[in-house]
């Protein structure tokens, strides 16, 4: 099934009530200008693969992951209840999210409050679409990025939810088969970028930044591109790379690299 042509690039649940999967955008991709580019890359890929999807638009609220992990259980429950109600109203069954914290909250936190959904990370959906041959390159597509590429596994994706091969499959496609320069700490043994548990919102002594250390490890692979799968990691690794004076190194979401490769 394909999205009706008259629909906008990313229709809301009201505009496309017959959607098959909901794209949960998340706060970062909604508001952070850098992460917004990731959201747009995801939408381009979904449209290219003719995925029948919708977004909640203004009705989406923060999942409350940070609130819960900072210790404000009731703010989290307030947000969760509101979101579960909205998701129920539009009869949402399947969700794709580009933020591992959203994935984890929707999957594991919300199930405690009556929200049961099939939740996938965008890299999982993209890996499936690639396998199904639904993401062909457009003519004149760009070559794979120059220089080495490494991938930083987000904690809430790889360790907490065991999703570490799907992003690598997508990256393999995005790099035209070129292999990754893996960091020593990868997959479930990944090391944190420093943003989880609400730390994203805290001031941090520059000498004690978790991101600086992790970015140094990423740069240590000789990578010119650091791929990530989480908007918070995107921010932290970008800062971390800068702190290590990695001026010619890009930090990119997996979806953005795929968009680049396909020439969308």
């Amino acid at each position: 099934m394909s999205t009706a042509p008259e629909l906008p690039a990313a229709p809301t649940v009201k505009e496309n009530p017959s959607f098959e999967i909901l794209y949960w955008v998340g706060c970062a991709a909604s508001y952070d200008r850098r992460a917004q580019r990731v959201a747009r890359a995801v939408v381009r890929l979904l449209n290219h693969a003719k995925v029948n999807f919708a977004i909640l638009g203004r009705e989406e609220k923060c999942t409350g992951d940070s609130a819960r992990r900072l210790g404000d259980e009731f703010l989290f429950q307030e947000l969760a209840t509101a979101n579960i109600e909205t998701l129920g109203k539009y009869n949402v069954k399947r969700i794709v999210a580009a933020c591992p914290h959203c994935v984890n909250a929707l999957l594991k936190d919300y199930s405690q409050f009556g929200g049961q959904y099939e939740v996938v990370h965008h890299t999982q959906l993209l890996a499936d679409l690639i396998k199904q041959g639904r993401l062909p390159a457009v003519p004149g597509a760009a070559p794979a990025p120059a220089g080495n590429v490494t991938y930083h596994d987000p904690c809430y994706l790889a360790r907490v939810n065991g999703i570490h091969e799907a992003p690598r499959e997508v990256l393999s496609a995005a790099l035209g088969g070129k292999s990754l320069c893996e960091m020593k700490r990868n997959r479930t043994g990944t090391s944190c970028c420093g943003a989880g548990g609400g730390r994203m919102w805290m001031e941090e002594d520059p000498k004690q930044r978790v991101s600086t250390e992790r970015a140094a490890e990423a740069l240590g692979t000789g990578a010119k591109t650091v791929a990530v799968g989480c908007p918070f990691c995107l921010t932290m690794m970008t800062d971390g790379v800068a702190a290590n004076n990695g001026t010619d190194v890009r930090v990119m979401d997996v979806a953005e690299l795929l968009v680049e490769k396909l020439g969308l």
Binding site: Q36, C62, N104, C155
Partner: protein, 431 residues
């Protein structure tokens, strides 16, 4: 001649009786020790033990299965000990050696009882005997090798490893038990002069007997008797001391693995009803932790793996998951002792024991929880304490601002909800 040997050979009946009396004392001390820890945990909040054992057998098995599976894999097959290089190899060899010797001793006792009922029931003979002796003889070496590695590591004292004086007692008594075990075997060979396969199925013992030089049979008998007693004393002493040393992880480890949260990524919810009833949110007192959480503190070996993977520790923040567990354990012991003595006031959990900045340092990355060999949920402990801080106005600064903004605008930046879909604008212009 069928290969076998006499149980309690060279040990007079009086010594045998004394042996059993001592065994009873050791078991008694062990049980008392375990019971003491058990009582300690009871200062915590009750957990659904009852629910675990309600319903018919099938229902009970269903309740037990996930936990039992975890124990079989994590403790039994040592799955969570893996992935730590030489430490893993050493623990595995110590574990396998120890379990084999422990099982061997138990089988020997079983054989002893059965053969007293009827000589026909004696199974410690023939091929079984050969395999048994051969296996235990070599696994004894594994046990000693593991122990030696841990001695060497403790000597080096890596930063992440916790250390107590009693650790040397444990390791040296392991060494002594292993060495005296071989000596007992060697001396037995010297006085019983076995031949053929019976002698060769204890290669280490045989080799050691050769090294001991010339003993007359009676000399060997008296030496054997003496060393046998030393070995027995050491073994009983070790057994009785389990609940009082780091070895208590033999007990608390599997128990915690059985009761632990099954996976990563979820937290135990709190309801408003609970809050209204208890008039508190989260944990403000060591007694507010659940019995399972307190038990988990006792499972900690201070192996330091959590600290090694903690990004907060690595970046110089005042948090080590291991320290949190150990500090809480200290407070648990202090509070329980105080309670028993009728005290009403205790050292405070927050600030006096665990500093707020320690709790705020955690990134909830779950690396510690994922790596803990005995499935301690450090993150669960930290978040339940954070909950109290937040409820009592202990959160300020930029994180508080983010929460305030989530309250008012449903996003941490406090940007207008009406602008939530504005990112789409770029799509129209860019594609």
């Amino acid at each position: 001649m069928t290969p076998t040997r006499e149980t309690f050979g060279n040990i007079p009946l009086s010594s045998q009786l004394a042996f059993y009396a001592l065994a009873a004392v050791a078991v008694g001390i062990f049980c008392w020790g375990v019971w003491r820890r058990w009582k300690l945990w009871q200062i915590g909040q009750p957990i659904g033990f009852r629910e675990l054992i309600t319903g018919n057998l099938l229902a009970v098995w269903k309740n037990f299965r996930p936990g039992a599976q975890r124990v079989a894999l994590d403790a039994g097959a040592q799955q969570r000990v893996r992935g730590h290089g030489l430490g893993t190899v050493a623990h595995l060899s110590l574990y396998v050696g120890f379990m084999a010797l422990f099982a061997g001793t138990t089988l020997l006792e079983l054989d002893n009882i059965l053969s007293h009922l009827s000589e026909a029931f004696k199974f410690h003979r023939g091929l079984y005997y050969v395999v048994y002796e051969y296996t235990l003889d070599y696994l004894g070496l594994a046990f000693l090798a593991g122990t030696l590695f841990f001695c060497w590591r403790r000597f080096r004292k890596p930063a992440a490893l916790g250390h107590r004086a009693s650790d040397w007692y444990v390791l040296l008594s392991f060494l002594a038990i292993g060495v005296t075990g071989y000596l007992v075997e060697a001396l037995r060979i010297l006085w019983s002069q076995p031949t053929g396969i019976t002698a060769h199925c204890s290669p280490v013992g045989l080799w050691l007997a050769g090294q001991l030089g010339s003993y007359t049979v009676s000399e060997a008998r008296s030496a054997h008797f003496a060393v046998w007693w030393i070995h027995a004393f050491l073994a009983f002493g070790f057994f009785a001391s389990i609940p009082f040393t780091r070895l208590f992880h033999f007990v608390a480890g599997p128990m915690n693995i059985f009761l632990a949260q099954p996976g990563l990524g979820s937290l135990v919810p709190v309801t408003m009803e609970e809050v209204e009833k208890t008039e508190r949110v989260g944990v403000n007192d060591i007694r507010h932790f659940s019995i399972q959480q307190l038990l988990s503190l006792d499972a900690c070996m201070e192996c330091g793996r959590c600290e090694e993977v903690c990004p907060a520790t690595a970046s110089g923040k005042p948090l080590s998951p291991k320290r949190v567990v150990q500090d809480l354990k200290g407070l648990m012991e202090e509070t329980a002792t105080g309670l028993a003595a009728g005290k009403k006031e205790f050292r405070a959990l927050h600030e006096d024991t665990i500093k707020a900045e320690t709790l705020w340092s955690c990134t909830a990355c779950s690396a510690c929880v994922n790596t803990c060999p005995v499935r301690i949920d450090q993150l669960g402990l930290i978040i339940s304490m954070r909950r109290h801080l937040v409820a009592e106005g202990g959160l300020s600064g930029t994180a508080a601002t983010a929460l305030r903004r989530m309250q008012s605008n449903a996003n941490p930046w406090g940007l207008p909800p009406a602008e939530r879909a504005n990112w789409l604008d770029g799509l129209a212009t860019k594609s």
